[in-house]
């Protein structure tokens, strides 16, 4: 079934197949039989969002860990400087646009969810980026930027969780203990990924849950300790079947269950009413579609002005297209929404907004065509047909 023109890595392909399927089903169900849909989604929400998604983020962390190895896009780490600076700009400007828009439409309650604007759907960005740019330095730049933005958003979520409890200290102590345990296991040469999951992974989940930080991030501090390959084959490149290190086996074992999790994630979270929502639902799409391209361009140019090296073949036109592509929040936007807002109409508005940012793909294509970037480069140079 995979496209001949664009061969997608399994992780990206799976994310883009099962997740939208779950989202579409959720939209139809929530609008046809809302009572049964909401009963279903309320019942499954915790097990999917707080437990199942743990493994999705673990696989994402694997990509980042491997990208820091020799041959990886984050090796040496200073290569990530410009994308990180661009990501910072791509967070700051959308937040400003978001808050200004909320003031305009008189929805002050949504202001507390500003962090949702930092979400970027990495898988969707990868596909749109590859279709527009092909094999071009803009694609790893886009992916690094997306990962950096999500990481910053997760850090903000972790430090400012409204559900924080009085167990912050004991919870974080448990997480620290889990990290130490994972380190000890690594030193002792534990080669299977299961002990890492079952002991430090479980401890980390409990610690985050107790401290009020979203437990879906439980494996993020554990995955870096799992034995891994010596070199990186590239971001989101499929693991070689013969690779026997713990991290590669972890990916192969969990790839299929994570597909199920992503399907359920879409099904549980994407069911929003198509009628009756307030203007606040436009806040996230306006913030990311307008703010992200400007922010990324500003962030990158500021970093270059401060002395960082420009990424070869990534100029202001490419940065603008990257910014439009990075306005897609989808999965990560839905996740951030569930993390920052409790059940209620405000959360539904934000979720609708996260789904509407899919329009970023259209904006990216239009901008690329207008500026003659990527696959549209030759067409523009050729000029209009006589």
């Amino acid at each position: 079934m995979r496209g001949k023109a664009l061969k997608l890595p399994s992780f990206i392909f799976d994310s883009l197949l099962v997740l939208p399927l779950g989202c579409v089903l959720a939209l139809v169900w929530a609008n046809a039989l809302p009572e049964s849909y909401y009963r279903f989604s309320h019942a499954l929400e915790f097990s999917v969002n707080d437990v199942g998604v743990v493994f999705f983020f673990a696989l994402m962390t694997k990509q980042v860990v491997e990208a820091t190895l020799a041959g990886g896009d984050l090796h040496p780490l200073r290569r990530a400087g410009l994308p990180i600076a661009a990501a910072a700009g791509g967070i700051i400007v959308p937040v400003i646009v978001y808050l200004a828009f909320l003031k305009q439409v008189n929805e002050p309650m949504l202001a507390q969810a500003w962090v949702v604007t930092s979400a970027i759907d990495v898988a969707a960005c990868y596909v749109v980026g590859r279709v527009i740019f092909g094999r071009h330095p803009a694609v790893p730049f886009l992916l690094l930027l997306a990962i950096a933005s999500d990481a910053m958003g997760l850090a903000i979520l972790a430090s400012a969780n409204p559900a924080a409890t009085i167990y912050v200290v004991s919870g974080l102590a448990l997480v620290a203990l889990a990290v130490v345990l994972a380190g000890v296991m690594r030193r002792k040469g534990v080669a299977s990924f299961w002990p890492y999951l079952l002991v430090p992974g479980a401890l980390s989940w409990c610690g985050l849950f107790l401290s009020g930080v979203h437990p879906a991030l439980a494996l993020v501090p554990i995955v870096p300790f799992m034995p891994h390959a010596k070199r990186d084959a590239g971001l989101f490149v499929d693991t070689a079947p013969q690779a026997q290190d713990a991290l590669s086996r972890f990916e192969r074992w969990w790839a299929l269950p994570v597909q199920g999790v992503l399907f359920l994630f879409g099904l549980v979270n994407a069911g929003v009413p198509l009628h009756g929502l307030d203007a606040g639902m436009w806040a996230v799409p306006v913030a990311t579609l307008v703010g992200r391209p400007i922010g990324i361009l500003a962030g990158a140019e500021a970093a270059v002005a401060a002395g960082l090296h420009r990424t070869p073949r990534v100029g202001w036109k490419e940065l603008l297209v990257i910014g439009c592509t990075a306005s897609i929040t989808l999965t990560v936007g839905l996740f951030f929404t569930t993390a920052v807002m409790s059940l209620g109409p405000l959360r539904l508005q934000l979720k609708t907004g996260a789904l509407l940012t899919a329009g970023g793909a259209v904006l990216a294509f239009l901008t690329a065509r207008l500026l003659g970037v990527g696959r549209f480069r030759a067409a523009r140079w050729a000029g209009p047909p006589n």
């Binding site: 809302p34 009572e35 009963r39 309320h42 009413p273 009756g276 409790s342 209620g344 109409p345």
Partner: protein
Amino acid sequence: MNRRPVAQLLAVLALIGAGWLVAAQDVRLPNAAASVKFAVIGDSGTGDRRQVQVADQMLRFHGKFPFDRVIMLGDNIYGAQGGQNFVTKFAQPYKGLLDAGVAFYATLGNHDSLDNRQYPSFHMGGERFYTHVMKNVRFFVLDTDQLDPKQLAWFEGALKASRDQWKICYFHHPLYSDGARHGSDVNLRVALEPLLVAYRVNVVFSGHDHIYERLTPQKGIQYFVAGSAGSLRRGDLRRSAMTAAGFDQDNVFLLVEILDADLSFQAVSRTGQVVDSGTLHLPAPPRADHRPGRRSDSPRAAS
């Protein structure tokens, strides 16, 4: 032509009209000395002429029906928040009632700032959810903008602990509504209704839809939508089988009186017209204790 009979006829008609007008502006409540009396306003904080006119009408009725409290169903301050806005969108319009010692108990709506719970005249004690009591009536005030697990656990605990004869719940977003703009919030209903039913809540007031609607009892609970005390969405009511009464042509506030097992209500428009009224009779208390269970009874309304 003899004009005298025509003039007499016109005079009689004028008298009947005036009588009807006076009657329409009458208090149709028992107005007993020992009863619990309160008013209900929703989506009020526009600061415009309509809000002021509703407030003036409330003050007029307060002269005849001295209610002690006003419950506010959210969107208490529209637009810019804080500071002077509390004056122009609350303290000034309701000055007469505030001077008469009437206390306002608010819940938050989507257009309110979270900081509004700190405003002393809203009596929220800095909380998003809380209860308050008037004699045999306990009010449960929820924040439906965000129904977090902590709030749900608190709500269930408060309901379980309550031994009050009347349990009245109010929050901004309606679980049932025939408002075309928003309508019923099914997502919230799935989360809240089991608790309301299990712990025998009698009446629920909500706003959000800028209309007045009294619904037929749903699973034994009487629901009111009263979100037009400032903002009005004219013609927004789409009557359905669950509409018991409704009014979407002018702003409305509610007057409520509870005397032992009877709750009487009267919906009054900005111009003083009574657009709905009736009485709910509390069913005889169940023989079992307050353990949660499915209810088959419901308050009976006599309009």
